[in-house]
């Protein structure tokens, strides 16, 4: 299994100068746990997840910029890597959201994101039609 088989295609992104309030709204509107911070050329610059947001609860986040709270993101993940390599990277760096960049262009344009939940989806090994069966089994038990 390769990363491109499991990842979400496309990302939610903001610019380094956007406010943290805008980022919070993006997360809330799209129900995304992470927002990719890009520079003016659209290249990956950093990542903001819930963990970066929580310390600013109660503060005036409309005055904070994305670049002030983002986590630096300095490595590249290729969509053709095997999933095992991605999991190893997640565990080693404690990054549970990997931004996947297009390897065929010089710039680091984000093409997708792989999260720990995508790995859990892979671990669940649910096939099409299995959802209904599982829910039915759960219903019978209760």
């Amino acid at each position: 299994m390769r990363i491109c088989d499991l990842m979400h295609k496309g990302v939610i992104s903001c610019y380094t100068e956007d406010t943290v309030k805008d980022v919070a709204k993006m997360m809330d509107d799209h129900q995304f746990r992470s927002v990719v911070v890009v520079n003016e050329r659209g290249e990956v610059w950093g990542l903001i997840t819930y963990r970066e947001m929580l310390p600013y609860y109660g503060e005036d986040i409309s005055k904070l910029k994305a670049r002030d709270i983002m986590r630096q993101y300095r490595f590249e993940v290729d969509p053709q890597w095997p999933v095992e390599r991605a999991v190893e990277l997640m565990k080693r760096l404690q990054y549970y959201h990997l931004i996947i960049v297009d390897p065929h262009v010089g710039t680091k344009w984000p093409v997708g994101i792989l999260t720990s939940f995508d790995i859990v989806r892979y671990m669940a090994q649910l096939e099409a039609g299995h959802f209904e069966q599982l829910l039915k089994l759960g219903g019978e038990k209760t």
Binding site: A24, R33, Y96, T115, A124
Partner: protein
């Protein structure tokens, strides 16, 4: 907080826990003992520690560290709960009963609810 929680026992296989998470679209599962007392919480991030093992054979007990349980009660101020989440680097807190000696699960506080509050600038004094 979200009242109620989806739970499983320590003997549940990780394969089934993964299915519970996917079917219910949640990123965590609360682990309880036979008395419905909280034993811990497994998140999608924790599940990675078992990657590479046989998911059907590996049980929750093998990857759960009961020493890392972080719980709050209904009376905990939201600011304290958020500070606890930020300090521990976690995205979910288990809300347990305030009765002495009881660790029954009441609900879950999730980071996405906190971020939603930040986006809408609503103030909340206490969790309940």
């Amino acid at each position: 907080m979200r009242r109620g929680a989806i739970t499983c026992s320590e003997e549940t296989s990780l394969h089934f826990v993964a299915q519970i998470m996917v079917v219910n679209r949640i990123r965590y599962c609360t682990i309880v003992n036979a008395n419905h007392e909280v034993r811990g919480l497994i998140s999608a991030d924790n599940m990675l520690n078992a990657f590479g093992r046989d998911f059907n054979e590996t049980t929750v007990k093998e990857i759960l560290n009961p020493d890392t349980i972080v719980t709050v009660t209904l009376g905990t101020p939201i600011e304290d709960a958020v500070a606890l989440m930020a300090q521990k680097g976690i995205e979910h807190l288990v809300v347990v009963s305030e009765r002495a000696g009881s660790r029954a699960v009441i609900g879950i506080v999730c980071a996405n609810d906190i971020v939603a509050k930040m986006a809408r600038r609503q103030e909340l004094e206490v969790l309940s």
